[in-house]
């Protein structure tokens, strides 16, 4: 059946924001259609005039220009083009569609990412427009080997996921792997990077993030230079980076903006914070409940004095405070910034002090939980931060049941789980396990940049 206006309307279920009209053209009458909400009408008129002039001049391939291309007509193709925000010029006799890409961009200006502040360095962040985001990366990687590939996902082939890499640095097998995974995606709609990540990662049930999410183009650029692949999608201000290791989540662009020794110190501090954030409350519960004899007598006396009047067991004390801290954090995040700050102060100082005064928890427990919370906030990645905060609960439970024995069992399970994890096929604990000395030292120490570059000439992901 030849397409006509009624048929086109039916294809998009007679939506009111469809513009569809017959249009005069040099060879035959055409049908122009587009969604008025997605297309820039003024620019479209200019483009139509240009194409018409080319057609009148009988230019070969008149339909091909910087903003247009032609396809054989099918109903699916027409639906696909319209939904992607393109204008379709249909010629029923010739049975072709000329697609004109003049999308009206609805995007905010680039701004500093709120979740990834740096002290020195670039303050640019991604926005909800993928092309702008790619431009921000390209601006930092002025090289011909920076490759951007688009993949249409889902059954209707309407969603585009873009992956980018540096051809001379990235392992071709990794590129092939990600291409295969994205091509196999069967979902029709993607709304968040989280959905995309679930398709790409290998261990969906693991609490540990296996891909790094960032809003910083400088972070993306440096990861690309380290041989990783970046996934981008429209309507999201975040890029997804892989493969990563556990230690990638503890690095920030500030490491490379500060002095070598200073950067190294803070990198070590962050790794130490991982240990305290997971184990400190469990350690305290173990010591108070089971192994108070390990403390020197002076400290032991203080601990006994502090917990003597508390009606609850240390585990309940810890749970009470930890849940309270989580509530404050969640409330201050969901509320507008000024109110959020007030909640944090009221919750942290006023209610915290009142809980101690009421004798529900001990002063020592407040110190332990506060130190744990601060340690977890030191971790630069929001996703890893949440994972670490959740992990301390099972450790506290193990400590409450069996003391250090429970912690050892938990530690072994955690370690086995981490050894099992892969990020796009690469071991999650690399370069510690499997051990690679050249990369290992870069985890703990931020080496001088020139020396760092010299040592990494081979292909593949480095830290």
């Amino acid at each position: 059946m030849k397409p006509n206006i009624e048929h086109v309307k039916k294809l998009v279920y007679e939506t009111d924001d469809l513009y569809v009209k017959m249009i005069d053209w040099p060879y035959e009458e055409g049908i122009i259609c587009y969604f008025t909400t997605l297309v820039d009408g003024g620019e479209l008129n200019k483009q139509l005039a240009l194409l018409k002039r080319q057609a009148e001049a009988k230019t070969q391939n008149w339909a091909i220009s910087a903003a247009s291309s032609s396809y054989p007509y099918t109903d699916d193709k027409l639906q696909n083009l319209l939904s992607l925000g393109e204008t379709a010029l249909i010629f029923p006799q010739a049975n072709i569609i000329v697609a004109i890409n003049l999308k009206k961009e609805q995007a905010r200006t680039t701004d500093e990412p709120e979740n990834e502040h740096v002290i020195t360095g670039s303050h640019e962040g991604f926005i909800e427009n993928k092309d702008t985001n790619i431009a921000l990366i390209r601006k930092r990687l002025l090289r011909a080997d920076f490759v951007v590939k688009n993949i249409y996902t889902g059954n209707k082939n309407s969603d585009i996921v873009t992956y980018a890499y540096i051809a001379t640095v990235t392992d071709p097998q990794l590129v092939e792997n990600i291409d295969k995974k994205l091509s196999a995606v069967s979902s029709d709609e993607f709304f968040t990077p989280g959905q995309l990540i679930e398709y790409v990662e290998e261990h969906t049930w693991s609490p540990f993030p296996q891909l790094l999410v960032t809003e910083r183009p400088d972070r993306v650029a440096s990861n690309l230079l380290e041989g990783r692949i970046v996934l981008l999608m429209d309507n999201s201000p975040t890029a997804v980076i892989g493969p990563v290791t556990l230690f990638s989540f503890f690095q920030t662009p500030d490491d490379f903006n500060s002095r070598t020794l200073v950067g190294s110190f803070y990198r070590l501090l962050r790794i130490f914070s991982l240990i305290t954030a997971i184990f400190l409350p469990a350690f305290y519960v173990s010591v108070v409940s089971f192994h108070s004899e390990i403390l020197p007598i002076e400290i032991s006396k203080q601990v006994k004095l502090a917990i003597n009047e508390i009606p609850y067991r240390p585990f309940l004390e810890a749970i009470l405070l930890e849940v309270f801290i989580e509530l404050i954090r969640e409330a201050s995040m969901r509320l507008p910034t000024p109110i959020g700050q007030t909640i944090a102060i009221v919750g942290g100082l006023v209610v915290g002090d009142a809980i101690v005064s009421a004798g529900l928890v001990s002063n020592l427990m407040v110190i332990v939980v506060a130190m744990t919370a601060i340690s977890s906030f030191v971790i630069p990645s929001a996703e890893m931060n949440m994972t670490i905060r959740i992990l301390r609960f099972p450790f506290m439970l193990g400590a409450a049941l069996f003391g250090f024995f429970g912690m050892v069992i938990g530690l072994l399970l955690l370690f086995i789980h981490l050894l099992n994890l892969r990020s796009l096929g690469r071991p999650y604990l690399s370069p510690v396990i499997p051990f690679d000395f050249t990369r290992f030292k870069d985890i703990f120490v931020r080496l001088p940049f020139l020396r760092f570059l010299r040592s990494t000439k081979k292909k593949g992901v480095r830290e």
Binding site: F290, H291, E293, I294, L295, P296, I297, S300, F402, G403, F404, F405, G406, M407, V408, I409, L411, L412, L413, F415, I416, L419, N420, L429, V432, I433, P434, F435
Partner: protein, 339 residues
């Protein structure tokens, strides 16, 4: 089972299999058996272990055991794991949890081993890495005791008493338990590295230093007459050390040793599965479940001092049979078949 080992992974696994069970208890037993001769006898054991490794390395390509020999190895390792778990249970009940039912503690340990053995071989072969910091910590902690050592207790020696020396040598074989894994894991080493020379010498040297240092510290710390009443001398030694930040250093080490032992249990269970897979194709899930059921149900029966001693006694003789006699038998058999 498909996996390959780097030389470092290979030696680390063997080190854990050799040290995991005995490193905290062998000093007392050796000093009881050999008296002040213990340190000299252990030097002989070091040489014996080095020669044994070289012998294994030269002959490992001829080590092609039949199903019956493989079964013997499986049973031997099951026995070692049962013994190891019983030992942990006994220590935990003495030091920390006298009122907790042993089956509950055991359930957690066996669950960890079962979980690890459900994972890919790559996970298990990398597991010993977690112990590396503990090894360093162990050395440093022993150094704390240095000022308290009485160096004159090295002498006098009594090497003329053949029975004493032989008993000591036999007891020191506890530290060589697990070395038979060399024969099964050697063919998995990824590169065609020449092991004879530095690799084996470095490993044997490190193994010797580790055990010898702990033996020496215990021998020079406790009067030889008192050693019989200190079953886990190393822990008592650490208990007596004063450091600023912690009162009971021994408790930390008890848990480090426990983690060390659990990983050893995991590795032995892995070896059992590996040997089982050589004669049984298909999925190993049921066999894995079966051996872990044994690890869960048997140790509680033996977790008293008398029973533990009872199942511990045959270890030395079994060990010599499994580590020396059986491999020689297999080598000779395969050489004859070839000719």
């Amino acid at each position: 089972m498909k996996f390959s080992l780097t030389p470092n992974q290979f030696f680390l696994i063997i080190f854990l299999l050799q040290s995991g069970i005995v490193f905290i208890t062998f000093q007392t037993r050796l000093l009881e058996a050999a008296g002040r001769n213990a340190w000299v006898i252990f030097i002989f054991t070091g040489v014996f272990q080095y020669l044994l490794l070289i012998f294994y390395e030269r002959q490992h390509s001829r080590f092609l055991p039949g199903p019956f020999v493989l079964l013997l190895y499986k049973l031997y390792w099951i026995y070692i794991n049962v013994l190891s778990l019983t030992n942990i249970l006994y220590s935990l009940s003495i030091w920390l949890y006298p009122n907790t039912p042993s089956i509950v503690l055991l359930l957690f340990m066996v669950t960890v081993s079962f979980y690890a053995n459900c994972c890919k071989p790559d996970t298990i072969i990398n597991l010993p890495v977690i112990i590396i910091p503990a090894i360093l910590l162990f050395f440093v902690s022993l150094l704390i005791a240095l000022p308290d050592l009485e160096w004159t207790w090295l002498f006098p020696l009594d090497l003329k008493d053949v029975e004493l020396v032989w008993n000591g040598f036999l007891t020191s074989q506890l530290t060589v338990v697990g070395v038979a894994s060399f024969l099964f894991l050697r063919k998995r080493v990824v590169t065609d590295v020449k092991m004879i020379g530095w690799p084996i010498a470095i490993y044997a040297g490190f193994w010797f230093l580790f055990f010898f240092m702990s033996l020496l510290v215990v021998q020079l710390f406790f009067p030889i007459e008192t050693i019989a009443v200190v079953p886990q001398a190393l822990l008592y030694l650490l208990k007596s050390q004063k450091v600023n930040f912690v009162e009971r250093l021994d408790l930390f080490f008890l848990f480090i040793w426990m983690m060390w032992s659990i990983i050893t249990v995991i590795l032995f269970a892995f070896l059992i599965r590996l040997v089982h897979a050589e004669t049984n194709s298909g999925k190993q899930y049921k066999f894995n479940l079966l051996i872990h059921a044994i690890f869960l149900l048997v140790p509680p029966f033996f977790s008293t001092r008398d029973r533990l001693d009872m199942i511990r006694e045959p270890l030395l003789y079994l060990h010599l049979f499994i580590v020396v006699v059986l491999p020689i038998f297999v080598f000779i058999k395969n050489r004859r078949q070839k000719t």
